[in-house]
């Protein structure tokens, strides 16, 4: 009767090793975006709020509904905010060579 639990624990352990393996080699430059990215991924907790709220009978006490509603709002904040912030950080690493060249030339002209 514990087969499901054991299967889940196996998944848990393997996922832990995947986490170690994927992350072990990251340049310092990407630490902040990476932290922000993993921060967005643990926004997966929104699934928990959805599952529990979804399976809650419509006539359940309002206290439970309010708690789960707040949980859902928090979880959504985590997901949406996390991915948007990560994207903004990463946008700065996109190559913008043409822009740099143009601005360097104009500044050179200013300096004479």
């Amino acid at each position: 009767m514990y087969t499901e639990l054991l299967a889940n624990i196996a998944i848990l352990v393997l996922a832990g090793f995947v986490g170690f393996a994927v992350i072990s080699k990251v340049p310092n430059t990407l630490h902040t975006p990476l932290m922000s990215g993993t921060n967005a991924i643990h926004g997966i907790v929104v699934l928990g709020a959805l599952v529990v709220l979804g399976h809650l009978p419509g006539d359940a006490p309002w206290s439970i509904k309010i708690i789960l509603f707040v949980a859902l709002v928090f979880g959504t904040l985590n997901v949406v905010g996390g991915f948007v912030v990560t994207d903004r950080m990463l946008a700065m690493f996109k190559p913008k060579k043409d822009v740099v060249k143009a601005s360097a030339e104009s500044k050179g002209a200013d300096a004479r």
């Binding site: 994927v22 430059t29 975006p33 990215g37 997966i44 907790v45 439970i64 509904k65």
Partner: protein, 476 residues
């Protein structure tokens, strides 16, 4: 249909892993983030399919909408300098979600006495674990946010840091209390028993929350980046525990990956400071810093310089190393620095950037800011790569960095930061330190670099002073 849901979960967590792999390289990072976000969208669609017969559609759609409306504007508008606290905040609400779910589950099952799942043990243990860790992460992150946003009264903060030992004692008591309450709830969770009163789960959340507050409050100074990373890992673990409780594989995988990667990141950062995670959490050095400062402040004199002098020094150097710190972030001086570097490069001066792993308030904080100003990825050197070069460098300009350049870490065994790897700025032929005033760094420790013979100080706002230096360079 439940097969479809499971398959979509598998697709979703495969995309998380693939996306995360992308995030580890500068060229694939943007795409990696999109892939992870798409995986998240698939996971949410899967769960909506799973609960399609729900009677709470109004609350669900409303909750998602409110979350998006509240989350997107600050994420889009917050300045890059305030990113660390924003990440702390988003991390905190994630932990809060887990704690609230556990609370609702407790109420819904009359204190876990009427759990439908058989066996009920993983559900109960997972929920209780998630409740504790989630609450610690939520309140801890809120403290980290208010510290970085500088919402806390400075005097109050100093007092707290000074009495760190007291907080540690309280934390031991709180940890024991939390475990005891969790065990009591677990033992009461028998269908034969009367429902456990709701006060118990509230007590558990409050005790765990106090623990979160008390762990982060006395941690001062340079340790804050490590703490955010640690809290991030904790939220991941709590998500994995909630996944075990709810038998949701997507949550288990995503939560555990974050738990594992967050631990590694935390460890990397702690190592860069030559400190262990227990030492950071259980023994802050803020209290000792004051006394160390008094001793070293007694010797040496400070030489001030002008923007014109600094410009001349740098213009005739062969190599200039820029050492950015939190002051650069605060003053938003990255574009000004880039402009100055361009002028120097036109004169044939080689310009490099030395980035300490914990410069600023998060690892990589400086890289993100400099990248915003279009500084080339290759020009940013990591500590180990550039430390050998200082002795061959004519001018090192330190912009708003302090503790990460403090030679006391290498030379003074009585210093609280002794042993922390630093940028060996003091070895370069001359050093220009750009600083607002003579106040000590975030760690509260005096820096003998400022009184060294080869050092001259350029006092003022980083952006303004760099701008003045740039003007002087133009007329040279």
């Amino acid at each position: 249909m439940s097969y479809l849901v499971t398959i979509l979960y598998i697709v979703a967590f495969a995309m998380f892993i693939y996306g995360l792999m992308g995030l580890t390289g500068p060229k694939t990072a943007v795409r990696g983030n999109y892939i992870a976000a798409a995986g998240m969208a698939i996971a949410v669609i899967a769960v909506l399919i799973d609960i399609r017969d729900t009677e709470n559609w109004g609350l669900i759609v409303g909750g998602l909408a409110v979350g998006v409306i509240l989350g997107v504007p600050p994420a889009l508008k917050t300045k890059m300098t305030a990113m660390p606290q924003l990440v702390a905040l988003f991390n905190g609400v994630g932990g809060g979600t887990v704690a609230l779910i556990a609370w609702a589950e407790f109420l819904d099952s009359n204190g876990f006495t009427t759990v439908d799942d058989v066996p009920s043990v993983p559900f109960i243990v997972g929920s209780l674990f998630a409740a504790i860790i989630g609450s610690v992460s939520f309140w801890g992150s809120l403290v980290a946010f208010s510290k970085l946003q500088e919402l806390l009264n400075k005097n109050f903060e100093k007092k707290v840091v000074a009495s760190a030992k007291l907080f540690q004692l309280a934390n031991i008591v709180l940890a024991v209390a939390a475990i005891a309450i969790a065990i009591y709830i677990g033992l009461q969770a028998d269908p034969a028993n009367a429902p456990t009163p709701a006060i118990w789960i509230v007590a558990l959340l409050v005790v765990a929350g106090l623990m979160g507050l008390f762990v982060v409050l006395p941690i001062g100074g340079a340790d804050m980046p490590v703490v955010i990373s640690l809290l991030n890992a904790l939220t991941g673990l709590s998500a994995a525990a909630a996944g075990l409780a709810l038998n949701n594989q997507a949550m288990i995988v995503a939560g555990m990956i974050v738990g594992a990667s967050g631990s590694i990141l935390t460890n990397l950062m702690a190592k860069a400071m030559n400190r262990s995670i227990p030492a950071i959490v259980f023994g802050s050095f803020g209290g000792d810093g004051g006394s160390g400062g008094v001793v070293s402040a007694s010797g040496g004199t400070v030489k001030a310089t002008s923007a014109a002098d600094a410009a001349i020094q740098m213009a005739y150097a062969n190599q200039v190393i820029v050492v950015p710190g939190y002051g650069l972030a605060v003053a938003q001086a990255q574009h000004a620095v880039k402009e100055m570097a361009e002028l120097l490069e036109q004169r044939g001066v080689e310009v490099k950037y030395a980035i300490h792993p914990v410069a600023g308030r998060m690892p990589g904080h400086m890289n993100v800011l400099l990248a915003e100003a279009d500084v080339a990825y290759d020009a940013m050197k990591e500590m180990d790569d550039i430390n050998g070069e200082f002795s061959r460098t004519d001018v090192t300009i330190v912009i708003g960095a302090n503790d990460v350049t403090n030679p006391a870490a290498r030379l003074d065994s009585s210093s609280p930061i002794y042993g922390m790897p630093i940028l060996n700025v003091d070895q370069s032929k001359s050093v220009i330190v750009l600083k607002r005033s003579m106040s000590s760094g975030y760690a509260g420790i005096d820096n003998p670099l400022f009184t060294a013979d080869q050092t001259s100080m350029l006092f003022g706002d980083a952006k303004k002073m760099v701008g003045e230096v740039t003007e002087e360079l133009k007329v040279l």
